[in-house]
Subunit: 167 residues, 3 copies
C-alpha cells in the first residue's frame, strides 16, 4: 500500500500537505501524534493543527512505539504520522536504540495494508551546530530520513507550502 514521506523545513506547510494527501484516501483518517503536550508552546501548536485538521480524525498519541501502532491500526483508514523528527527525539530521550527502531519502522512500512503518510523535518541545511548533541541529532535525523525515504513509495519536499516530487 501507499507509503508517502513529506519532508521540509519548519513552517514550510508540511503538515497541511500531509493532511491533504491523507484525506485523499478513502475511510476515516487516523492522526498519529508523536508529540506530547509538555509545555505551552507545544500545546498551542497541537491545538492549532487540530483546529485546521477538523474533528473527524481518529487520534492516537504515540511518542515511542510507532511501528507497533502502525501494525495495530492497519486495515482501516490512512494514517498520518506527525512527525518523525519528534519521534526520533523521543527515542533518544528515552534511551532507546534509535537505529534499531528506525530499521524496524522501515521494515514495517513495507508490509502495511492501509496507507501511511509520514511527516519529517530537514534539519541539516544550516551551519554546523556548536554542540555535539545537536550534531548527533542532525546526523541521526538525516540517516532516518534516508532510510524512510528508501522505504517510501513517494517522497515530497515542501518549500513555502509547495511540494516538489523527489520520488
Amino acid at each position: 500500500m501507499a507509503v508517502i514521506l513529506i519532508t521540509g523545513g519548519a513552517r514550510s506547510g508540511k503538515s497541511k500537505r500531509a493532511e491533504t494527501r491523507t484525506r485523499a484516501f478513502p475511510g476515516q483518517p487516523v492522526y498519529v501524534a508523536t508529540a506530547e503536550a509538555q509545555d505551552g508552546e507545544m500545546e498551542a501548536r497541537i491545538a492549532k493543527h487540530r483546529a485546521r485538521r477538523g474533528t473527524d480524525w481518529i487520534e492516537r498519541e504515540v511518542p515511542l512505539d510507532l511501528a507497533a501502532a502502525l501494525v495495530a491500526s492497519d486495515g482501516g483508514g490512512a494514517r498520518l504520522v506527525d512527525c518523525l523528527t519528534l519521534w526520533l527525539s523521543n527515542l533518544m530521550h528515552a534511551g532507546r536504540d534509535w537505529e534499531r527502531e528506525v530499521d524496524a519502522l522501515a521494515a514495517t512500512l513495507s508490509n502495511l495494508k492501509s496507507p501511511v503518510v509520514l511527516v519529517t523535518n530537514e534539519v541539516g541545511l544550516g551551519i554546523v551546530p556548536d554542540n555535539a548533541l545537536a550534531r548527533s541529532f542532525r546526523d541521526a535525523a538525516g540517516i532516518m530520513n534516508q532510510l524512510v525515504a528508501a522505504a517510501a513509495d513517494e517522497v515530497e519536499f515542501v518549500v513555502a507550502g509547495l511540494p516538489m516530487k523527489l520520488k
Copy 2:
C-alpha cells in the same frame, strides 16, 4: 500582473536571479530595499548589490510600509523587493502586527498592474534554534513565505545560483 517569489538560502544567488527576472520586464525597474544601512556589514552588502545591479534603477528604501509602497509605485516598471525576511524583522522590531501586515501584502499583490519580484529567505531547514525569539522568527518567516507563495503567480527556489520551479 506577474507576481514572482524567489526564495532560497543565504548567498544562494536569489538577488541576482530576482534582478534577471525583473529586468526581463519592459520599463525602468524599481528597486525596493527593505534594508536600512545600520552597520558596516550591511552597508558593504548594500553597496555590493548596487554595484552589480547598475545605476539605471529607481531606488526606494521601504523598511516597513511595503504594501503602500507597491500601490504608490504601481503603473510603472517592474518592482524588485529585496527582501521580505528583513521586512518581517523590521515589522517585529517596530512592534507592528506582522500577521496583519503580511495578510495585507498578500491581498495587495493580487491587485497590482505592474510586475513585482519578491526575494525571501528559507530559514527553517537547520537545527531548532536554542532561543525562543529565533524560533518565533523562523515560524513567522515560514508562515509569511507560505502566504506570499500562495498569492504569487510563480515561485522559484534557488540553490547554488540555479532556480527550481515550485509554481
Copy 3:
C-alpha cells in the same frame, strides 16, 4: 569532460550519490579527501565512508591544493572530491585567499580531461548565526557553491538520499 556537483545538507546522502556517479565512469576511481583525521568524530566518519566505498579506490588526502591535485591526477579515472565545504574551511584556517583559490578551482574544472564529481554542503538555509565568523563562513560557502555550480556540467541537490537535477 564531465564536471558534476552534488550538493545537499548534512547526512542527506550526498557522498553515497557522488560515489555512485563516480563509479559509473570507466577506470579506477580516485578518492580526493579534503578531510584530515584530527579528532575521533572525524576519524569515525572517514572510516565509515571508506568501508562503504570499498578498497578499489586510489586515495589522496588534499586539504588545501585541490586545483593542483586535480591537474596532477588528470588523464586517469574519475575523481571524487569530498568535500568542498571542508576544503573552504581548511583554506580559511590556513589564512589562504579563498576567493582566489575558488576562482582558480573553477577555471581548472573547465580544462580537465577526466571526470570530476564534487561534493558540497548547503549551509545557508537556517536562522542567521549569532557569531560573525559563522556568518562569514556561510557567505563564503554560498559564493563558492554558486561559482562551482556555474563551472559544472551537472548539478544535483540531494534530499533524503534522493537527487533533484538543478542543471
